[in-house]
Every structure is written in structure tokens, then in C-alpha cells.
Symmetry: C2
């Protein structure tokens, strides 16, 4: 099952990357709402993992797997909501998102990769592996928040 799940996750991520849910927003406001919603969903499941990793919640391997799968899939989504048409919509995003587009996109890719690794770690059911991968993912989140979020 482990290799199946890993393979399936890779397939999902490959799909998501190959055919991102780009454009097709009704307007810029909808794009911003979409990306914020994706971050909210991802954040909730990441926090759930964080509670287990920090010992604030009991470790539940099945729950950790489910949370990490959501984080991995949803981490591929918000980026299409940062189109140039959203630059002027009020949000927590700094102008640097669009001024440093390439660097921002590299950060997004680092998060997506870290989240995929976190799902693989969660698949192992080994809390120490999950802790390591969680830390790497959290670092990736923080790097972008520091540079690109008010």
C-alpha cells in the first residue's frame, strides 16, 4: 500500500502540475478568494499535523496520512490565483509577489515539493520522519510568508 499511495500521490501532483486550474476565474476578486480558500484548507490540515508533531494532540497515523494527503494536493492549487489581474485586489499579498515573480514561483515549487515529501513521510507512519518533513514544510511556508505576505 505504501508504494501505491506514493505512486498515487505522484500521479496526483503530476496531474495538478501538468494541468493546473488556471485562469477561468470570473474576476480578480474570485481568484483572490480561491487562493485564500486553498491556503485556509491547507493551513487547517497542516495545523492538525502540527498538533500531532508537537505532542499537543495524540499521534494518529491514519489521520496524519489523511492530513498530509490534503496538504500535498492543496499545496498545488493556490498559485493560479496570483495572476497579474489580482495585483490590485486588497489582500495580504505584498507587491513583491508580482515584482519577483520567478522567485515567488520557485518558493511555491519548494512548498509543493516539501508537501509531497511530507505525504510520503506520513505514509510511513513514522512520527520521527513526519517531524522532519513537517519542519521542512513549515520552513518553506515561513520563507514565503516572510517575503511575500503582510
Amino acid at each position: 500500500m505504501t508504494s501505491l499511495r506514493n505512486t498515487s500521490l505522484v500521479a496526483i501532483l503530476a496531474l495538478a502540475c501538468a494541468a493546473p486550474a488556471m485562469a477561468q476565474f470570473k474576476n480578480a476578486k474570485h481568484a483572490v478568494e480561491y487562493r485564500q480558500a486553498a491556503f485556509t484548507v491547507m493551513g487547517k490540515h497542516f495545523a492538525s499535523l502540527g498538533a500531532m508533531v508537537s505532542g499537543k494532540a495524540p499521534f494518529d497515523a491514519a489521520k496524519a496520512k489523511a492530513d498530509a494527503q490534503v496538504v500535498a494536493m492543496v499545496s498545488t492549487l493556490p498559485w493560479s490565483g496570483f495572476g497579474p489581474e489580482t495585483e490590485d485586489v486588497k489582500s495580504d499579498a505584498k507587491m513583491e509577489v508580482w515584482l519577483e515573480k520567478t522567485t515567488f514561483e520557485q518558493g511555491a515549487q519548494r512548498l509543493t515539493k516539501a508537501a509531497a515529501d511530507l505525504a510520503t513521510a506520513a505514509d510511513s507512519g513514522n512520527l520521527d520522519q513526519i517531524k522532519l518533513a513537517f519542519g521542512a514544510t513549515a520552513k518553506s511556508c515561513k520563507a514565503c510568508h516572510d517575503s511575500y505576505r503582510n
Copy 2:
């Protein structure tokens, strides 16, 4: 690949159902924000499929697969955000959500099942199959919206 993807989706849904991201919301407002965010993400990808199904957007099989995978996974999520502590938080949810809890949960299960079928249909790459499954999913969405959403 088709059977792998179907199997993987079943695995994901099984995980999500076996270990839902329950409770662990900071407070009732966070639970409402989470469920609304999940609906926003799901709605965006369902609308993207709808545009292809209705011919408003060109059919792109890879994109349809990616959208349907997101819809299927995210359709398992919002329900944990309807805990009894959220009854009094202002939202579009009618009181019937909590008064008719069992019927509401059955509706949620019907949507999750319809969305999984939609992902299977999208996996086939056959637009006619996708249209049928999309229609069934849309019907499932509408049934709950009519009864449980203002």
C-alpha cells in the same frame, strides 16, 4: 494508469473517510471558515469542469482529470466544519443542517460518492461519461443547497 488512479482515489477517499479532519478547530468561527473555504475550492474546480461540459471552455482531458480529482478529495472535507458548536455562527447554513443531521449527512455522503464517480469518469477521458457524472454531481450539490443553504 486508469486503474491505478481509480485505486488511488479510492485509497484517498477511504483515508479521508476513515480519519476525517475532525474537531481541532480553534473555535466555531474557524470551523465555519474552513468549511466555506473547502466549498470555495471545490466550487472553483467544479465550475471549471462545468465550463468544459457545457462547451463554454474547450475540453481538455488532463485538466478535467485534475479538476475532478480535486473535487473528489475536497468533497470529503467540509463536513467536519458543521459541528454543533457552529450552529450559532452566522453563515448561509440553515438550522435544518443540525435539526435534520442524519439526512444532511446522507446528502454529504451522496455528494462524496458522486464526486468519486465523477473522478472515475474524468479518468476515462470520455466527455460523454464526464457529462453524465457531472450532472449527477450537480444534482447532489443542488439537493443540499435547496434544503440546507439560504
